[in-house]
Subunit: 346 residues, 4 copies
């Protein structure tokens, strides 16, 4: 029988610019990279005319890559970098010192989706103090309000509508929104913080279409700070197939290396290999599967897992701990940027 | 030296109508009382012209008094009464079946103030289903949205402003707000549920002036469901002095009763005594303190405790358990009233 | 170059008997199956002499399979089945009415591992009442104590040692332990409850060796109620490859079926297909990968993901909700079995 | 009618040494006092022969008095003092560097009683690392395990039995227990930390008799760190009557002082007055009540409030916030003392 798997084109949903750029290797986009010890920062701008091609909204994107945040010192280093990058973005947009509404998107009752609301809890809020006639707020504090709109399924009200309602009444100069996102790469889960001025669709990370939280619709700048905290099974399998191909490449390259026979296969990192299987080899090791392009594999996996209900969206089992630390990193960074006079150790 | 304690007049702040009426014994207000086993319901209306006199907003007030809610069956009985009373109120105001926004006032991070937000978590929300074109909501469900605006000190935004913003966007027909209140009697703490259409000032229970959540300001009916969860030290002391006077009265009445000598003073309820100390006796037992009227005693105690920082607002140590049960009672009652088709055991 | 992937044998770690039996299709083990509507119950006994072969401890195993627990009625049905099965087990072992210590294993601060401690919170505990001389406990209640030993990394003390210490002091007749487990199949995550008398190694689900909580070491029967709440990436990928093979089989079988061209590939369940790729076809579609046996694929995937740190253990993003419902199901079932006189609706 | 209130003697239950000493003004006990800015430390020793007289167990008692802990810097100051005092105590008893079991007494589900379990969550536990053969624990870390036994009503097992069972198995050199206590003075609620080697009866703060956690019964030193977090209504009323008497004294002294007429009675602290009402004045202002001694007033109030169910045990409404900060103070202090090498900012 001569059936070939049927692959239609497929739009990769992807909240994170680093993954999009990585996946599509787009020409004409300058990625500026900087390293602070083992923390990497990528900055890039997507112009209006490239936006469609990439299926990403135009805007500036800053992505901070880090490894470990379980350790106090590592966390401090990440806070320093996020503080510096966020400050730079606000300064470039002339927003430093302006009135800001901080919005914590997501569901506080669902741990992997609670990053926004948890971060809000540690924001130093001052707007009410500025509104009290008897109080003279100390120099070095910005006018900050903060708020969590909840999620559509729990409130029955779209986050956009709640925020729009509040914006209309209190008139902030700009918004900073924090949200947990879906990753399209297992490497990034809980390992990057993305800051962008391109807006966000609340809940977009999990496949629901919502009104966009953006400067276009709200008429004030919207800075979004996002962290990928979940990933779907299709992505896990697809990434593993890529890793498998690299692993086979590595083994092929090293098969005659005598050292290779001495090392435990569980103990070496094969990712740095710069040889990749040729078409012939892909076919040999993976059959027709090996002949598919990455987006075709994703589409195929989606057709395998979705109809039987197993394209789970998952999160690492340490999620409680990680969300806790990530919310501390983001809230401290925001407090540092907005309030010059704050005790930085607090 | 001839100093007499200096007593200025004093406005009793009091969120609860039953306490106000009790305290002031106002003529011309009909209190309709009904008992369901050991649950008592009081209904009364304060007309516009009595409002100032009582320092209470005009409106209908229904108060449900109960004793124990630790037991599953007792809780079910309270739910049945609250359901019946809330339904009656909504029916009288022709609000049954209309679009409602449920608002959970208070601070979810502060247990005694978390009644509103905790109640919201168990409300069956349906507005988003009514908004989905592909879904036909089952007969017997109302259009319900639900929301917690947080507290001013945490958000920097007045609850009123947040709610006004949302109302302007989603246009509900009426509001049900749930809030934890301050009690001006220790007997009522966590022991009554008050339902009124007179509006509320969020945070008023704890002495802050806020914009009033009311039909007048929001142009739609506002039903408030309140439970007193905290009480201040002045109230505790004042109530204890009242009890002390009753206890002395009881002892005086029973001093020659031979049975009295046999019972442990810690084991009898003396509150039903219908004898009260005369002026002479009050002076004998309590000196000048005994000559003061109740509002004068409260003012005096306030002058004693406030300047040294000890007019604590307190809550019973079992607060976590009680708030949990009260939020279940209120959310189930609301769900029962708004959704005919709901599984009542759920 | 002629390298073939190097596959050593691999012990499948697997907490769940249904998966082991499924995987190994062992002869001589009778699996008794019963269905209650859409809930399936499997009962089997592993004799001492089969234990080694299966790498599973000898004992009786009852596994309850269910689909949805989001709905109140479905949950009630699952509770009824778990109650019935647990009662049968205790009756067979003559433990009904005896003194029991309920142990909630796992980490309450880590949502996917918090099933045990959360379940404990809703157990009706009575041992202290039996110990009070002034109280006569009502007929129909067993003597129940309940306890969460925490986890080794948080307490520095092995769960076994804590439980052994308590058992030595309070002398219960038997133990019921509740724990979250690792699944070796994505189909079972949060979808089965397993009850066994074979003991458990706390933390075994996540790869740490600990002292076994078992009748052998504690000298009293130990009934373990386990639910798989996490799964590792190797399992997700391996299961997906199996599904992929079935999907290709399905497509091959239906390629000439005219109806097939009309249906959306995302909308049909292909799992019931009873055709399976032959060796030739497996090679065509999956190359050398297709020639591997399942345990070899798992070993290969482990060698791919482990050295680069991506063999994540994950949990579905709805974990908070699911753990909540599962803990209710288990605690209500236990209460039903141990306390005849309990209000079943409570 | 000539009834006088009937006052039997009354044992003041009081967990806190500072209150006992204050109340009874015992001779022959040297109280060593030291001030660090606005933090006061009192140290005293109760010898075996004074123990009965004071109704307090013999031992050393260190009490740290502080005002505000809402501010980061104030909190740091309190941590420094608690660290210093705890270190001194352990050094004097030659316990520094020895194996310790930290026990968090109380109910984590009841906020005012959750201080112990919350503190445990932030203790740096190391015993499991010392037990791993492959790990060499860094110089400067003690061998620490930590554990919360829950409460009798929730586990059915006395805390003492659980701890005794664990001690028998893991053999620590000493215990540090943390517990929330009842205060017999409103001034001390959440305002003092008491450290003692005299042991504790878990739950004693709330009137239940339990087996004592002490060196006598466990054969190893038991250091207890306690904070009063609740107070009963009798204490609130009694303290207020004392304040009332001071206030009247103050007013009497100042009645002819022209400045007095200008100040708002709510704005001055009258506690420093060194005049006290004479018997004649007490009778004039408070009648027979004024003739009672403090312990008689407490007994009277207990007879008034207890039979009608209103001797509430209460906690300030800010309890969540305060318990959070207190648990941070205690856990950081313990970590500082036990682990020299710890990052003090962590």
């Amino acid at each position: 029988m001569g059936h070939e798997v049927n692959l239609s084109d497929f739009t990769i949903r992807c909240d994170l610019i680093s993954e999009t750029i990585d996946n599509k290797k787009v020409d004409g986009i300058d990625v500026e990279t900087k390293n602070y010890k083992d923390i990497k920062v990528e900055r890039l701008v997507i112009e209006e005319n490239k936006s469609k091609l990439l299926n990403k909204k135009s805007g500036i994107y800053t992505t901070i890559f880090f490894n470990d945040i379980t350790d106090y010192e590592n966390r401090s280093n990440v806070i320093n970098v996020v503080t510096k990058e966020l400050k730079k973005i606000l300064k470039n947009k002339s927003l430093l010192g302006k009135k800001v509404l901080i919005v914590g998107l997501g569901n506080e009752l669902s741990t992997p989706d609670s990053l926004g609301p948890k971060t809000i809890q540690n924001i130093v809020v001052t707007r009410h103090l500025f509104n009290m006639k008897e109080i003279q707020v100390e120099e070095g504090y910005s006018n900050v309000s903060a708020f969590s709109p909840g999620v559509y399924a729990a409130t029955g009200i779209e986050s956009f509508d709640i925020i729009k309602g509040i914006v209309d009444i209190i008139n902030p100069d700009y918004i900073i929104a924090i949200d947990a996102l879906a990753s399209s790469s297992i490497e990034n889960v809980n390992k990057i913080i993305q800051i962008t001025d391109s807006g966000i669709e609340p809940g977009s990370g999990i496949g629901n279409n919502r009104k966009e939280l953006s400067e276009k619709l709200l008429s004030i700048p919207v800075i979004v700070i996002g962290v990928p905290t979940v990933v779907d099974a299709v992505t896990i399998v697809n990434d593993t197939i890529s890793f498998l191909i690299k692993k086979i490449s590595y083994n092929i390259m090293n098969i005659d290396n005598p050292k290779f026979k001495l090392i435990n296969p569980k103990n070496y990192n094969y990712l740095d290999i710069n040889y990749s299987l040729d078409d012939q080899e892909r076919k040999k090791y993976l059959g027709l599967l090996g002949e598919l392009k990455e987006y075709e594999i994703k589409e195929l996996l989606s057709e395998v897992l979705t109809p039987i209900g197993y394209n789970f969206i998952v999160t690492p089992k340490e999620v409680d701990f990680l969300i806790d630390k990530l919310s501390i990193i983001i809230s401290k960074s925001i407090n540092n940027v907005l309030h010059d006079s704050i005790n930085k150790n607090n």
